[in-house]
Subunit: 191 residues, 4 copies
């Protein structure tokens, strides 16, 4: 159904967590934005941390799907890596991706429940794995210079993370930052 109240709550939560961060986002605000009763939040999602986890998982799932979509048609390892990076950065500035939920605040690393933290971690690991596979492939098919895929993946993703934060959280990012970053990555791995 379109007017699914459980989904409406999740969407409102993603919007608000991304916009205001974890603590400034209250159940009252979420239920009002979603247009449903306050009590429904605990009913459907248990507690705030679980709701936050659900929001994060949801964004991460779309993120992963978006990356996999982007790299699906890559015709070389190098091409795949570049598609990966472009998709990463694009997703991070897509108005509808609710990316900020993952950026704002640290409750994912503060999560009290180990299980929840693990669930997020394992999804992030999947992102790393995709990039490593592409780097390996590139080294094999000769489109990428010989590099340690694990090490290089971590550096590239660190660069994505940092560039993204510079872009969305600071006032001094150059407009061309993302393009520059892509060139930089290309230059540093291209065979």
């Amino acid at each position: 159904m379109n007017t699914n109240k459980k989904d409406a709550l999740l969407q409102a939560a993603k919007d608000l967590f991304g916009e205001y961060g974890y603590v400034e986002t209250t159940f009252k605000k979420i239920s009002e934005r979603a247009g449903v009763a306050l009590g429904l939040l605990n009913h459907h999602y248990g507690n705030k941390e679980k709701l936050f986890l659900a929001a994060g998982i949801d964004v991460l799932q779309h993120f992963l799907a978006s990356l996999q979509d982007a790299i699906a048609g890559a015709n070389s390892g190098y091409d795949g890596v570049m598609r990966f990076c472009r998709a990463y950065l694009d997703f991070s500035v897509d108005k509808n991706s609710n990316w900020l939920v993952l950026v704002r605040c640290s409750p994912y690393s503060d999560m009290k429940t180990k299980t929840d933290r693990d669930q997020m971690d394992s999804m992030f690991s999947q992102v790393y794995r995709e990039l490593e596979l592409l780097l390996d492939r590139g080294v094999r098919d000769g489109s990428i210079i010989p590099v340690n895929s694990r090490t290089t993946a971590q550096i590239i993703i660190s660069l994505m993370v940092g560039a993204n934060r510079t872009k969305v959280l600071t006032p001094y990012a150059e407009p061309t930052l993302y393009d520059n970053v892509l060139h930089f990555v290309s230059r540093s791995i291209k065979a």
Copy 2:
């Protein structure tokens, strides 16, 4: 005096903001850790946000001093850039630097008072400027390949930011990440 309670409060604040983040750090915890009365916090720092700002400014000042110290004796632009990066990463894992205050949570970007946000921003800008000067110098003295200093500075700092977050906030950082990052930077700018 040595047993300055105002300073004790600031130190306790830096410790706790770094360890628990902004919201989980309460007045009660800070005053207990500092061994002073609860009311002294508002007496000396006005309110929580101002105390947080004072903590951030303090860490940032030491950070800047540390960077400037490190690059002081550089014998080339390239050498300076490498010293800069090493000092950045070293500071970020120095147990006594309270670096986490700057990493954890977003209140610096959420700060309600524009003046406060501006104060932090202007200090961060100084960090950028130092790196740009070194890059320019390296291009001039031939130790660095011809690059746009502004663009390159932003990429390098993005990489520092991302690598640092990967290191301190996630469980999957390789032990050699920082070394790898330094090699990577070196390779990408060395003439």
Copy 3:
């Protein structure tokens, strides 16, 4: 329902604001007197000032109703004015009217929210208007000497206000003060 907690809170607030004044009346006292949880106050009324406003409005509404009731059957302007004054003074010493809420302290004139202050003002204005109409009628029907109704209304109400304060706030009011005031008003307007 009969055991309405929202209403119980309002009643407790009226009692306590009248008895102790604005600042000495705490949320704790109110919720204890009403027999409800502390948090319900903000849930239902938002904040202390809004609750105070609600209490004032409520008293004022009963006051206005009481005045209108009293003057309804007046058979002349003069009779109406006297009924008005008697009803005013009676209400001000009625144990159940919570009149003191309006007398004690000044937060109504200190109210931060302009809208709230305006709401109170417009209700007070209605009191003036009622008296002016009666004075006009009295002048027309010949039961009152020719006076400016606006001017006279303000003087009469000033006298009510002052007599009331003398009665309820000072220790030196004569027992017959109210009767004397009524005679005084009668003498000064009767044709």
Copy 4:
């Protein structure tokens, strides 16, 4: 001396109590306005209520002196009463009289220490006594119609009180209110 710190504190207290009321006036504000150290307040005045009492007494003393000054040269009882009323109302709008200290808030009637309340009461009684004496004199010298001086004094002062509150606390007072009140009093007692 001119720069007497004790006096400076009292003056600041009178200004601020009148402007902001009892509770909104803090020791910090007073000491800052007076330009002296915070601790001096308790040192000189003991506690807040005693300071407030000192402020009230001081205003009341000037008030009494002002009334006595005004009626000193009265050439009839009637003339004296009119001088009394005019002086009352004038004082209440004199920018330098700090009259509002007596008007704002009710702490005088809430005062915990009986002795303090009594001290204020006895000064107010003196005001009543002055007016009663004038009324008696007027009845005797034939300038005032035969009235009960005690009763009439209380009514006249009630009118002063009410008119003053209407003037300084409400937005709907007519500009000519005070003049109208004086005429009204004159008409109601003149022989």
